[in-house]
């Protein structure tokens, strides 16, 4: 229903979007994930019509809307700072678009009341935006954007200003709303947890281009390149060379080798090989076992996970994580790192980390 073809945009000679292609399905919850300042807000503004693109086309339901002003597109946006009109109360804010369409007062009031009930703020019509908490403003902003029955709702890091607990709660609620209304959501965030929790599909963006588009499990389990692997779920990236022996394939890295699954690739001994391994899949074996020698640097505990940082002989830092706080290693211990070959994903080499 939404089709972006080769969208490009530069500001002062710096290209922030370099050829974005995207097909969005009806009723889909798609998240554009990138680090701060990755051009994702610009992309959203171009879809909304608030910015123009230098080249490329935007099709909405097969109709070219590339040159339409924002008011002519059936797309609404939830702004990062909510952008509630301070001179109107909550009811007037939500009813703004209805009033523009000359919806009769009674019908308007009913629609506004319904929208407020939907975001669980019934009876808040006469409050002023300044009297609301951050979470409540957020809900009003969502209600205001939904009341217009847009084909697509654009959300620009809407939970960024909320505290962690509220953010978790709003994630669930946004997902519920989206399911209930069947509206397409295009959601922008730099928070991978939000992306993994809510999305049907995630598009990981870097340097103005999509690195990978896929379902959360595809992105998490089969990252296409080191950037995606590192950015989503912060995997360990091991860049070494391939080593073939008796039809089996190994990664030669940091003074040791671990078997990997070539997954249909034709690897020869000496080829450059990069694999991504999730920290929870990292095995810690006693020194001298087959694998990669490493020294424990530090241990830290957060969110029910023990995080163990190790240094390999090549000087790279690796992270292994374990559930629970009891894991008997201490800084200075020399261990051997390994991983089951089914947990190692071969990715395209990528020097830069996010």
């Amino acid at each position: 229903m939404l089709e972006l073809n080769q969208i490009r945009k530069s500001f002062d000679g710096v290209e922030v979007l370099s050829g974005i292609d995207l097909r969005v399905m009806p009723g889909e919850f798609i998240t554009i994930l990138s680090s701060s300042g990755g051009g994702k807000t610009t992309l959203l503004r171009i879809i909304a019509g608030l910015d123009s693109c230098d080249s490329g086309t935007i099709l909405l339901d097969g109709k070219d809307v590339t040159d339409l002003p924002p008011e002519k597109r059936n797309v609404n946006m939830v702004f990062q700072n909510y952008a509630l009109f301070p001179h109107m109360n909550v009811g007037e804010n939500i009813g703004y678009s209805l009033k523009l369409k000359h919806v009769p007062r009674l019908e308007r009031e009913k629609t506004v009341a319904d929208a407020l009930a939907l975001v669980q703020l019934p009876g808040y019509e006469s409050r002023k935006p300044t009297e609301l908490s951050g979470g409540q403003r957020q809900r009003v902003a969502i209600a205001r954007a939904l009341v217009n029955k847009p084909k697509i709702l654009l959300l620009d890091e809407p939970l960024g200003a909320l505290d962690l607990q509220l953010r978790r709660q709003m994630q669930i609620e946004l997902k519920r709303l989206q399911k209930q209304l069947g509206i397409t959501f295009i959601y922008i965030t730099h928070d991978q947890e939000e992306a993994l929790n809510m999305s049907d599909r995630i598009a990981v963006m870097k340097n103005g281009i999509f690195q990978q588009i896929g379902s959360p499990s595809e992105i998490y389990d089969h990252p296409k390149n080191a950037y995606v692997a590192f950015f989503v779920g912060s995997a360990n990236i091991l860049s070494g060379t391939a080593f073939k022996e008796e039809g089996r394939c190994f990664l030669q890295y940091g003074g040791g080798r671990v078997e990997v699954d070539p997954a249909g690739r034709d690897l020869q001994t000496g080829d450059a090989l990069t694999v991504a391994v999730r920290s929870e899949a990292m095995e810690l074996l006693p020194a001298g076992e087959k694998g990669i020698p490493a020294t424990v640097k530090e241990k830290s505990f957060s969110a029910g996970m023990l995080r163990i940082a190790l240094q390999t002989e090549s000087g790279d830092e690796m992270i292994a994580s374990r559930h629970g706080i009891d894991y008997h290693v201490s800084p200075g211990d020399v261990l051997t790192l390994s991983f089951p070959k089914e947990n190692a994903v071969i990715v395209e080499a990528e020097d830069e980390k996010p």
Binding site: A48, A83, F85, L100
Partner: protein
Amino acid sequence: MKSRNRKGGNAAFLAPLYLFTLVFLIGPFVYMIVLSFLTRAETWGVVNEFTLSNYAKILKPLYLSTFGRSLQLALIVTVLIALAGYPFGYFMAKLPPKRRARLLMLVMIPFYTSSLMRMYGWIIIFRANGLLDKLLLALHLIERPLKLLYTYPAVVIGMVYALLPFMMLSVYSSVEKMDWSLVEAARDMGASPAKAFLTVTLPLTMPGLMTGVILSFIPSMGLFFVADILGGNKIVLIGNVIQEQLMKVHDWPFAAALSVVLMLMMTVMIWLYRRITGSSEMEGMI
């Protein structure tokens, strides 16, 4: 003004401010009110004798109509200033910082010259066969000289010219503080650019516009020298009457009574302003 009470202690620093206000503002003000209830002496000065006759005199048709004429002129001038000043202040605020600073400078430069001098400048422009007439004749826009000097339009133009910067600056400071994402939100909700301006930008910059209105309307009631210089003796405003009563007729109590009434009118206006905008602070009065 925000009060900043840092655990007392500042009284010593504030004393000169209070003294200044007392001597130069409250003192003369009280003196003026007292004066307005006293009787005029035969030749010069006043007699300490209470009377209401000064106020009764204002009710004479001659003076009432002067008040009416002054209000009318002030209204016309203010509307023109708002129409010209709002767009100027708006676009100035939307300029890139460097060009904005340059434009602000251009607005301020005339203030380095006395406004009285600048009014005399207008004489050269307005007088019969002056600069304006010559220019318009040369462009074949008119066939006979307009002879604008000493006419009502000349006074209106002079007042607009003198007071326009106040509107520009107060609108500017208000527009500069605008959160433009609100306008984007309005467009996103389906508002055309004009509709978004009327429903979002204008209401949110209303405090600046209203401050500009106050700063234009009130002085335009009292700028007697503009009416004097550009209007000759033909256009008599309340400011001219006060000046005349004070300087020529030497009827100080009557001049004081006229001033008190003028001040009451202005107080009502400011009260209305606060009622409308709901704020006690004026925008851009730094």
